[in-house]
């Protein structure tokens, strides 16, 4: 295929992605979505032996829990809060006038109780906290949700709204680390079966500002985060999966305990669904029916 034309342009030409007028926001075709569905099945099969509890969350979570999460300390630039009009007839008239004259009408909106989900596992921890002490064997979840990150970009692999599938282990430090190692192996097998070139490397989250530098260094040094990167649409390969050991970070925030005084540790593996699907189009072409037999078998059995 002609790889001199940017991937986004080629996907738009073939109407696999449809631009919506804002960077990082696209309509997707039935073909794109059929690959997402196949990928989710393949991921589920890779983890099926574990019998994780399946939970699916909407694109928002309670603001009060988000406030506790320390997300605004680490990644304030990425979060999205939901605001709404809360006035009566009089305020409505004023709002319509602003709309008509091109003034900023949404500045008068008030914050609602909702913040957009920044990562699929965030709604899980407050839910776990409500459910009390973690039982001896720990807990394991299979979650998925739309996530929002405010980082408009012309790179199709950096969408503002995207779907993240995650498996999350909560238990002892040993259980968390064993889980992460297991998924490193499973992920290598899965991405190999999808015949995509990849590397795994230590990584850091995009911590904000001057104070963030220290947190990045710490995360790298302790190898708390690993990423599986695949060449997609930018000069550098794109992180398509991440493997995170949180230590007792979330347990300290939400008091998740294994026994009185004993904090739980947690780890997660996250799959960027749109990114992996884009990688498949990038490397195997635009007609999934013509993809290599092994790839099709991995996706659709």
């Amino acid at each position: 295929m002609d790889v001199s034309t940017p991937l986004l342009e080629r996907l738009v030409e073939r109407r696999i992605l449809v631009p919506m007028g804002v960077d990082g926001l696209y309509g997707r075709s039935g073909i794109f979505e059929s690959v997402v569905t196949g990928l989710e099945s393949a991921i589920a099969r890779a983890g099926s032996a574990d019998e994780a509890e399946v939970l699916r969350f909407p694109p928002a979570m309670p603001r009060t829990e988000f406030e506790r999460s320390e997300y605004m300390k680490s990644f304030p630039q990425l979060a999205g809060t939901v605001h709404a009009f809360c006035g009566g007839d009089r305020e409505h008239m004023a709002l319509l006038t602003k709309l008509a004259t091109g003034e900023d009408w949404s500045r008068d909106h008030k914050p609602t109780e909702l913040v957009l989900v920044p990562a699929a596992c965030y709604p899980l921890y407050p839910m776990l906290a409500m459910e009390g002490v973690i039982p001896g064997g720990g807990r394991l979840f299979d979650v998925q949700s739309y996530c929002f990150r405010h980082e408009p970009s012309a790179d199709p692999a950096r969408m503002q709204f995207f779907r993240m599938r995650e498996f999350v282990r909560v238990g002892t430090a040993g259980q968390a680390l064993t889980f992460r190692d297991l998924w490193l192996l499973r992920a290598k097998t899965l991405i190999s079966n999808l015949e995509l070139p990849f590397e795994i490397a230590p990584a850091n989250d995009p911590f904000f500002g001057r104070a963030g530098k220290l947190m990045k260094d710490n995360q790298l040094e302790q190898e708390l985060k690993l990423e599986l990167v695949i060449p997609v649409a930018s000069a550098q390969p794109t992180a398509c999966l991440s493997f995170n050991y949180h230590q007792d970070h979330f347990s300290n925030i939400w008091q998740l305990t294994l026994a009185p005084g004993k904090s739980a540790h947690s780890a997660c593996v996250g799959f960027g669904l749109e990114r992996i699907v884009l990688a498949l189009f990038r490397h195997h072409g635009f007609e999934p029916g013509h993809w290599p037999a092994g790839v099709r078998h991995t996706l659709w059995g």
Copy 2:
């Protein structure tokens, strides 16, 4: 089954819905989602003869297009705008102080370019406008997306974020009305096959304020909107599907034309996926494996 206990409570007991701490926001179990998947397949089969173009949109659309849509004129109370922090290190410090002291930290956020999608067909019209004159046979789309409506409620059938599947016809007035009549028949068959009790009745959208009264009356009088209602969790049956004839409303906003000077008309049928799934649990019990054979066949073939 014991119907004296409210539906929400029974779903939560069985962990089919998991409360997230805000009315209208729930985690859903794998069982709930398997019914959503089955329902979407059944809907697709009902409309498969039409070969509609499949498009899937993220939960947000561009604010500029939303402004044109007149949604804020009719339903300002329901819309959700996405706001984000846009400062540097200094503003970040101030934000963290507010968070620590319990002040409202998100009031300083700025509106982004995004507004949450209020109905699955809203992102479609601006896209159509960009694509120019509608060809002679008109166009037909199969869309789905998460929709947001700011109406926190203890009724599980009134979620703040929910998924809406829609078929949308754009063409002549005759094509739009024929399409709506066809889907009225198809929907009756589908909901009958799901063995759910229903009625179809003229309806109106929740137009805002004093001026909204006139718009409600007009919509009812012209029978522009019909709803298929099913008893779910409240005293009144819940609108689970709606059948809408927009006349040339959206074409006038986005200049959708069939030929120079000839406005397109449009119609849509919308399926409230969570509502129909809740109706299935309400009427057939909490174990889909034990639902009547005909219902299971309709959902899972």
